[in-house]
């Protein structure tokens, strides 16, 4: 199957906003005597409006690869991805420009989202107040702590009120209060119709998720209705699985 990705305009109804079919991805190497690694073999997944979806799986199972393909920063070898509406992406490692201030970072990305200066300013102050980084708006990114950098990383994904939010372990480095605030935000966004998708490692979070996909053996399984725990959550606690 040929690889293709399509993005269409506004998300207006209660429907599937992201659909991935038969995604395959192998990381090759152009150097001799090095092996290629197959990560995804036949991955299917749907993300609907207003859902909070968790993607779980053991380390190295391909969760971030899958999310990067869904966002559009990584090209699949084959399969199709259809996206509807605007996307906000919070990568696992903060992808920010170290020598820009927080305010300049908002301006740069806000301009990309097509926001006006007033809209950027409003989003900046709203998120700074909500996630408690108002005092750092004039700081350079490389002067911030890891937790505060992650707040900016998350805020850049949220600032344009996207239809689809893709979050790769978005709470890394957050203190407990910020962690709880993050979940309040995610639930508010989902209630407003945003499709929130996040890579999650924490077992206690699974009760907050409307749907859970597990990435295992290169494929994606819907394990929402399964009793007990997934292979991934068990293996992360160091227990043996029957994989």
């Amino acid at each position: 199957m040929e690889a293709s990705t399509t993005t269409t305009g506004e998300a207006t109804s209660n429907k599937v906003l992201v659909r991935a079919n038969e995604i395959e991805k192998t990381y090759g190497s152009s150097f001799p005597f090095t092996r290629s690694v197959t990560v995804l073999t036949d991955a299917d997944l749907e993300i609907r409006r207003g859902e909070i979806v968790g993607i779980v799986g053991a380390n190295g199972s391909g969760k971030s690869t899958l999310m990067n393909i869904l966002v559009g920063v990584l090209e699949q070898d084959s399969g199709t991805v259809e996206r509807t509406g605007t996307v906000g992406w919070c990568p696992q490692e903060p992808l920010l420009y170290d020598r820009l201030t927080v305010g300049e970072t908002f301006r740069l990305f806000g301009s990309g989202y097509g926001m006006t200066a007033e809209e950027i300013d409003e989003a900046k102050h709203h998120l700074a107040s909500k996630l408690d980084f108002e005092q750092y708006l004039d700081y350079r990114i490389d002067q911030l702590s890891g937790g505060n950098r992650q707040k900016i990383n998350l805020s850049i994904a949220l600032m344009h009120d996207p239809d689809v939010l893709m979050l790769d372990e978005p709470y890394t480095g957050f203190d407990w209060e910020t962690y709880l605030t993050f979940w309040d935000l995610a639930e508010e966004l989902a209630a407003d119709g945003t499709a929130v998708t996040m890579i999650s490692h924490l077992i206690e979070e699974q009760s907050r998720l409307d749907r859970i996909y597990e990435v295992r053996d290169g494929q994606v399984y819907d394990v929402t209705d399964q009793e007990g725990e997934t292979d991934a959550t068990a293996s992360e606690r160091g227990e043996e699985t029957d994989e």
């Binding site: 559009g72 420009y97 020598r99 301006r107 990305f109 350079r140 850049i156």
Partner: protein, 250 residues
């Protein structure tokens, strides 16, 4: 303000806060160019160049020849490192700009605009420092060749940044202009017809122009400047292709 303008103005601010680059801009021209004039023994040296379309050997003062060579080395070295830093920093994060809605051509225009602005400053400072000790016979031809070699090295720095990490890239971009301009194109070292592979290096055509228009009264290297510009365009197309490949939205 358009996306391109926003990305360009913020990119300039970001580079102005790159203290390594600013320090290089302050320290290198004086230490390389001024010292080259100051410490080089004042004796006459044979220099191969074009006069009335013929390759001839003329006698020129060694400080002047050394100065003519050290000026493009300085500029190429700083521009190359600037290109390297620009690409290394942009390699991962510019992909996020694409997700945010920037078109590849908008990001490319902004990034190349930043590199062009840095190169203009670097060339201006290098030539300005040189002018304290030495006046080329044809200043604007000399400056044109300086710009071409500096932009070419800036783009090569970007290409190196796309392939190598910061440390390996820095070593490469420190060594490459030194070897190319300071050894293989330097008339103090190369006093016969250069080997074919020396002519493939980025410094070959621009340095021919600089030696000719810096040290002789006639301009005989118009064609060399055309070749140098062609070389620059080739590197530019390659760099745009590589940059597009690593930052585009899939």
């Amino acid at each position: 303000m358009s996306r391109t303008t926003t990305a360009f103005t913020i990119g300039i601010k970001e580079q102005a806060r790159n203290y390594v680059l600013v320090a290089l801009l302050v320290v290198l021209p004086v230490s390389f160019i001024t010292l080259a004039f100051a410490v080089t023994q004042d004796v006459e040296m044979p220099v191969r160049t074009l006069v009335d379309g013929e390759t001839v050997t003329v006698m020129r003062g060694m400080p002047e020849v050394h100065g003519v060579i050290m000026t493009p080395i300085t500029s190429a070295l700083i521009a190359g490192l600037a290109g390297l830093f620009l690409m290394r920093e942009a390699k991962d994060t510019d992909g996020r700009l694409a997700v945010a809605g920037y078109r590849a051509r908008q990001v490319i225009t902004a990034r190349f605009g930043v590199l062009a602005a840095i190169t203009l400053i670097v060339t201006g400072v290098s030539v300005g420092v040189m002018l304290v000790d030495f006046q080329p016979e044809h200043l604007w031809w000399f400056v044109a060749a300086m710009l071409v070699v500096s932009v070419t090295y800036g783009l090569i720095g970007m290409l190196v940044g796309a392939v190598f990490d910061r440390l390996a890239g820095m070593w490469l971009m420190l060594i490459l202009p030194m070897l190319d301009i300071g050894l293989f194109q330097d008339p103090l070292f190369i006093q016969s017809e250069p080997e074919w592979w020396m002519k493939l290096l980025p410094g070959y055509w621009p340095v021919r122009v600089m030696v000719d228009t810096g040290l002789t009264t006639d301009v005989d290297t118009t064609l060399s400047l055309v070749w140098a510009t062609g070389y620059l365009l080739l590197v530019a197309v390659l760099t745009i292709g590589v940059y597009y490949r690593i930052t585009q939205e899939k």
